[in-house]
Symmetry: C2
Subunit: 271 residues, 2 copies
């Protein structure tokens, strides 16, 4: 998907919502497991159908599928196939390796699957990212400042005399590798105050924001500090939406939660 | 596999060799593709059979399997299943995510597959790594100083007044998360001089060393600077061994290349 199409979708749906499909077979409604041969796929299809009118993106966390072995990988592919064309698809895979290997990851997620974007870890540097850029209208979403406690271990380390932090250096350096049409960043909602310095470094890039909901991020401050003239934010919620209910109407409950979050966004953002 | 068993295997086989199964369907012998329903698995099984008596470890690069979609994932599992019990199995997956997600990756590689170790990226910090430690006799192999050109982008950045480099900080900090029985490090053979400072920080840890062969690393200097009293090194070669020939005797050619590298190691290391 192009940047232009993404922005149009945001305007049309009046939403910045990304729904995270972190589908754990131990957390989905019991009746699906009893009544369906493939309860995970059934769950995903219903969540997708129920939320696609307010979701501008779906983020599929590959770990949850890999943990189910071969069936899981099959479900990962089938889930991506069942997402409507106007929704931006993120393979949340956190990959990256030496060039000839990253090329294989690009093939896995951009050819074998039709993901629009893949999340990528920055530690291995430029040549671990470049193979992804060979695909037109595909994106990398590079980890900058993650939402977890462990983000404090290395990402805030000062890397020069001016006190530039590692995540700021990652932003500065990597923004030269690609451009605003093929690169986004991950910045956790648990660091809302840092969006100010981040926007000084990457004013125009889109930022994927996890950490709202279960992880306790501050939505209002993220929007205040992070929005740009093209919106520039995708706000992810996973567990808070998809596990809203374990009853038969779990999809309606998910839709309501998705709408609730979208309305919070609509109260602040002018679409 | 325990550290003790690994060291015993090293002594028994008189080898530090890790054979990398970066199996690319476009690079395996043509006759396999013509004659076998599953040429990749056939290739792997023959390579494993031919080299298992000198290999103390096999490293399976997950990207090459993921790039083949569902069949690839199936082959990844079947390949691991076909490795003899006395060989250390590394899932070269470069994963890591927030805690609840890393838990799923641990399940994928330590339960659904019987890997002994998984390579892990350090950027997301402690809680992205901890879930892997819940499995007894399983290992993480954390990226410290990688073999590629992009290792120069961030890994050498100074992170304090004393000029400690980021990869040194990663070693220092992460060596407190686990211990020498569940943590190894990746250090590329393309940085042989850095093994000296690395051994000051992690004298007792095992180090997985990629970058010999196709990437041009310096074996002799790596051994000189990196060995410790428990050997402490696994020397990986992938392309240089498995693609030694595209003829019918590719497995014999691979065996010879594996032996050639092992003999180079035996000339320097006292087992």
């Amino acid at each position: 998907m192009t940047r232009k199409s993404l922005i149009e979708t945001i305007k049309k749906k009046q939403s910045l919502l990304c729904v995270g499909l972190d589908t754990d077979i131990n957390k989905i409604p019991e009746f699906l497991i009893q009544e369906y041969d493939n309860p995970v796929l059934e769950f995903n299809k219903r969540i997708i159908k129920a939320t696609a009118d307010v979701a501008v993106a779906f983020k599929i966390n590959t770990a949850f599928y890999e943990s189910q072995g071969e069936t899981g990988w099959k479900n990962l592919i089938a889930t991506i196939d069942s997402i409507p064309e106007d929704v931006f698809i993120i393979a949340d895979a956190k990959r990256a390796d030496i060039g000839n290997t990253s090329k294989m990851y690009a093939k896995a997620f951009f050819e074998k699957m039709n993901a629009d974007a893949i999340t990528v870890a920055p530690y291995m540097g430029s040549d671990s990212v470049e193979p992804f850029f060979e695909y037109k209208n595909k994106w990398i979403i590079l980890l900058a400042l993650t939402s977890n406690k462990g983000s404090l271990d290395f990402q805030y380390l000062p890397v020069d005399k001016n006190g530039t932090k590692l995540y700021e250096k990652v932003l500065k350096t990597s923004s030269q590798w690609g451009n605003i049409n093929n690169t986004m960043y991950v910045v956790g909602a648990t660091h809302p105050e840092d969006f100010l310095s981040i926007r000084k470094i990457v004013p125009d890039h889109f930022i994927l924001v996890p950490g709202i909901g279960a992880q306790g991020g501050d939505l209002e401050l993220v929007l205040k500090n992070g929005l740009n003239s093209d919106f520039g934010l995708l706000i992810n919620s996973s567990r808070g939406i998809i596990y809203a209910s374990s009853d038969r109407d779990f999809d309606i409950a998910a839709k309501n939660k998705a709408l609730e979050l979208t309305n919070k966004i609509r109260n602040i953002v002018k679409f």
